[in-house]
Structure formats: C-alpha cells, structure tokens
C-alpha cells in the first residue's frame, strides 16, 4: 500500500503516485466569457508574433547545397578508392578477394591473375585482373576496408555518385584507382 504523501496535492494523488517536483502548472485555453483569459490569449498571441518576427533578423541556417557543402569528417565513408605504392607505382591489391568475402551486400567482384616478370601489376604474387564494385548495391559499411590485409582499398570522401544509368554505377578498377575529383570538403581537426 502506498502511503499518501502529505506534501502532494490531493487532486493529483488519486493513484497514490507522488508527482513531486515534476508537476508543471498547466494553464488552459480561455474559458468562455472570462476577460482575464481573453487578455491572456491576446498577450500570448502578441508574444508569438514577436517571436516569429524576431526570427527574420536572426538570419537563415540554410546551406545552399550544390554551391555550399558541409565538410565531411576524416572517417566519413564515401566512395571507395584503390591505392598504389607511391614509390614503385604498383597496385597494392593482390586479388585475394577477402573484401568480396567480407562484403555483406555482395557488391565486389574480384578476378585474380598471376603476375609475370613481363607484366608486373601488383607487389604480390597475383593481382586483380578485374575489380568491380557495384555502387548501386554498396551500403558503405566499410567492411572491405577492414578486411583488406594490404590497405589496398579504403573508403574515400566522395558521396556525389548519382547517375542516370544503373550500369554507370558499376565502378571498374581503373575508375577506383584514378585520382578522384576532390569534390567534397574535408573537415579539419577541431572544426
């Protein structure tokens, strides 16, 4: 049995629950015929009008998107990039297909081929002859990046990938290796 708190208001304590400090005084809309509540409504309406008028001076919060962009964070997961070694120019990807195995939406396709002394593409034994990411399926989870043992694939910062054709969203190895157009501003530390 809940004991009745002597401090609580009797009308509020029907259920035995003590609202304590959480009670907020609620003033209802005007009772008909009451001059005071009519005045209160008039005053509150004027206060509301003042608030909205004041907002004009405060200016806008709009970011004019195609012209202005919100900078992304360094760990933003945008479109993938494939990397080369900076010194030798060889591809980092060795065609192990671990990224394809890790991919939850099954959008990476890797076909590996052997490196030969005449045709040396990657630093390892094999290289990716075909490397395709279907970006219309990709969910940008970043698992491929984590799975990769050579840091050959990373998530970039580009997020403007819309296109008119589904086929154009299948990115090939050349497209992923190419230096991306840096269209996305990066957020600096402390920003």
């Amino acid at each position: 049995m809940a004991t009745v708190d002597p401090n609580a208001k009797a009308s509020l304590n029907v259920s035995g629950w003590n609202p304590g400090d959480d009670v907020i005084e609620v003033t209802r809309t005007p009772a008909p015929g009451a001059a005071r509540s009519t005045w209160r409504t008039f005053r509150e309406t004027a206060r509301g009008l003042k608030t909205t008028f004041g907002r004009i001076a405060e200016g806008t919060n709009t970011i004019q998107y195609p012209e202005e962009k919100v900078p992304v964070y360094p760990r933003f997961r945008g479109r993938h990039k494939l990397h080369r070694f900076e010194d030798s120019g060889l591809e980092k990807c060795v065609g192990c297909s671990l990224c394809a195995a890790a991919c939850p939406s099954d959008c990476i396709r890797v076909v590996a081929a052997e490196n030969t002394p005449e045709n040396r593409v990657s630093a390892g034994e094999r290289y990716a002859a075909v490397y395709e990411i279907n970006l219309s399926r990709c969910i940008f989870c970043g698992y491929c990046e984590i799975a990769c043992p050579f840091d050959a694939i990373t998530m970039g910062h580009d997020y403007e990938m819309s296109d008119y054709d589904r086929d154009d969203l299948i990115f090939t190895k050349e497209m992923l290796l190419a230096e991306p157009l840096e269209r996305t501003p990066l957020r600096n530390e402390g920003e």
Binding site: P30, G33, L49, R55, T62
Partner: protein
C-alpha cells in the same frame, strides 16, 4: 442616379478601368505568393524559393505555368459540370469584390473625371459581403462535386465557418457605418479625414481582421484545407488550371480583405498629419497599406497553429460575436449621445 455618384464617366473609361483593375489584381497575386513564401521562409530560418530568377522572384510564374500545363483530370465519382464551374465561381467572386476597393479619389484623366475604383456602389459593405457569401459556393460546390469524402468534409467545414464568421464581420463594420453615416466606401474614406477608424473602432478592427482570416480560410482558421486531417480539403481532387484558380482566388481574397481593411479602418488613400500628396500618389498609398495588412496575414500564418474545430466555433460565436455586438452598441450610444 448619376447625380448620386457625383460625376459622369464615359463608357470607355469604365471599360478601361475594369481592365486595369483586373490586370492589377492579377499582377498582385504572384507578388503575394512569392512574398508569403519568402517571408515565411525567413521566419522559419530558411530562404524560401531562391532558384527561379533573381532571388526566386519568378517562382510564382513557374508554379502557375506548371499548373496550367498539367492535365485536367477529375474523379469518376465527380459531377462534371459543377466540378468545372466551382473554381470559376471562386475566382469570379474574388475579382468582383476587388472592383469596389477605392484606390484613390476622383482624378482628372483624359479630360474626364475618373474615380480610381471600379464602382462606387452606395451599398459598399453589402456588396463585399454578398460576393463573400457567393464565394462560399465555389468552395461548397467544389467540395461536394468532387465526390470525395475529404473534399466534402472540407467543404462542410468551410460552410459552417463562413456562416459563423460572416456575422461577426458584418457586425464589426456596423460600428464604422454608424460613425461615418454612409455605406459608400469612398464616403467612409473621406469621413476618416480627421482620424482613421483604426483608433475609435479598434475593437471593430480586431474583430474584422480575425473574421477576415476565417473568411479567407487562412491560418489559423484554415480548417477547410487542414492537410493533416483532410489531405487538401475542398480542393483535394483538383489539379492543373482548376487548382490554380482556387489558389489564385485564395490569395486574391487575402488582397480583397486587406483592401477592405485599408479602406474602412486605415483611411484608404489618406495620409496622416494632414499630408496631401498629388492625386497620382493615392493608389500607391492604398497599395502600401494593403501590403501591410497582407504582411500581417502572412505573419499570423507563420505564427499561430490551426484551431480545433470546436475551438473555432466557440471562438466565433462566444467571443467574436459578443465583442462585435458590444462594439456596435457602444458606438451607437456614443454617436447618439454626442449628436
């Protein structure tokens, strides 16, 4: 009859005047459209439309062109003729009511005396209320003939709302008519030479304005098109040019109410402190005052939430009507006592 009007206008002046009034009304509506969207945008911390033309100035043109090039479709349950006629009634009554707003006193143009208004009817306020009442047919028939439940509910609300608020609106004007002792709108303006009726008839002004919000189905009384409950209200089933007509009529009605308020309470073309500019300034004075009231319409729309239906009804009958009646009574007593 012409002696009552006080001057004679040749027939060609009347035709020119009606064309000019129609043209001015049609030019003002897009201005109100863009102004509303821009001002409401600013009040909500955004820009509003700013892509079409400089600062988005051509947005209403793009909107109207889009609507006019759309297919005219109608539901299979609708009543064809009424469905097509209803938007016309709306736009016709709105333009007709615009005809009596005086934009200036009698001027000498082309060697004749021309009043800067469509007609100076000797029963000005009655004319306005008559067309306001007919405008309700546009909403009611449109909603009913759509053959859709949402439209019908919206139309029913519109009917009830219009009947409730027209009473208070009329009552609010009675005080002004008693004070000015005339029913002609130009007469009411010239009677305000000493003091605008805004001050002695302040209660009447407030009641008329609030009832005006309800008459034009604007926020916070836009229950006829309460999107959250009724999709689009009476114009749910409308699209294309017919929808554009309704849309146009709504904003034209806002302008008409602004014009009436300007004429009746803000002294029409009169300027305060005894300033008498040349006659050609009069229309601009009226337009400026009208834009102030139109801004108030937009401002209120950005501020107040929509009323519940029972609140709307109890407010109309229990607050506005007694206030307007009391105002009339007090005005009558004061006028009789001081005469």
């Amino acid at each position: 009859m012409l002696a009552l009007v006080g001057y004679y206008e040749p027939w060609w002046i009347q035709i020119v005047k009606s064309i000019v009034i129609f043209a001015v009304a049609l030019q003002l509506v897009p201005v109100v459209l863009i102004a509303e969207r821009k001002i409401m945008g600013r009040m909500q911390g955004r820009y509003g439309p700013n892509r079409v033309g400089p600062y988005g100035a051509l947005q209403p043109l793009a909107d109207i062109l889009k609507l006019l090039t759309k297919e005219q479709s109608r539901p299979s349950t609708s009543v064809g003729l009424l469905f097509a006629v209803a938007p016309l009634i709306s736009i016709l009554t709105a333009v007709a009511a615009f005809a009596i707003i005086p934009f200036g006193n009698v001027q000498h143009i082309f060697g004749t005396r021309v009043g800067l208004y469509g007609v100076d009817v000797s029963v000005g306020p009655l004319y306005v209320f008559a067309f306001g009442a007919i405008a309700f047919y546009g909403i009611m028939l449109g909603g009913w003939s759509s053959g859709s439940k949402y439209s019908f509910l919206g139309a029913m609300r519109g009917a009830a709302q219009l009947i409730s608020y027209e009473v208070s609106q009329g009552m609010a004007l009675v005080g002004v008519i008693i004070t000015s002792q005339t029913l002609s709108l130009t007469g009411i303006v010239t009677a305000q030479k000493g003091m605008w009726y805004l001050i002695p008839q302040f209660v009447g002004f407030i009641v008329f304005l609030v009832a005006g919000f309800a008459e034009t189905n604007r926020a916070p009384f836009d229950l006829t098109e309460a999107d959250a409950e009724l999709v689009g209200g009476y114009n749910t089933e409308y699209g294309g040019g017919r929808f554009a007509s309704y849309y146009f009529a709504e904003y034209l009605n806002v302008l008409v109410v602004s014009g009436i308020v300007t004429t009746v309470f803000l002294g029409g073309w009169l300027l305060p402190f005894g300033i008498h500019p040349p006659g050609w300034v009069d229309p601009f004075v009226v337009l400026f005052k009208m834009s102030l009231i139109t801004f108030l319409f937009i401002w209120v729309r950005a501020t107040l939430p929509r009323l519940r239906y029972d609140q709307l009804m109890s407010f109309g009958w229990k607050v506005l009507l007694p206030l307007a009646t009391l105002n009339t009574l007090v005005t009558a007593i004061v006028v009789v006592a001081t005469h």
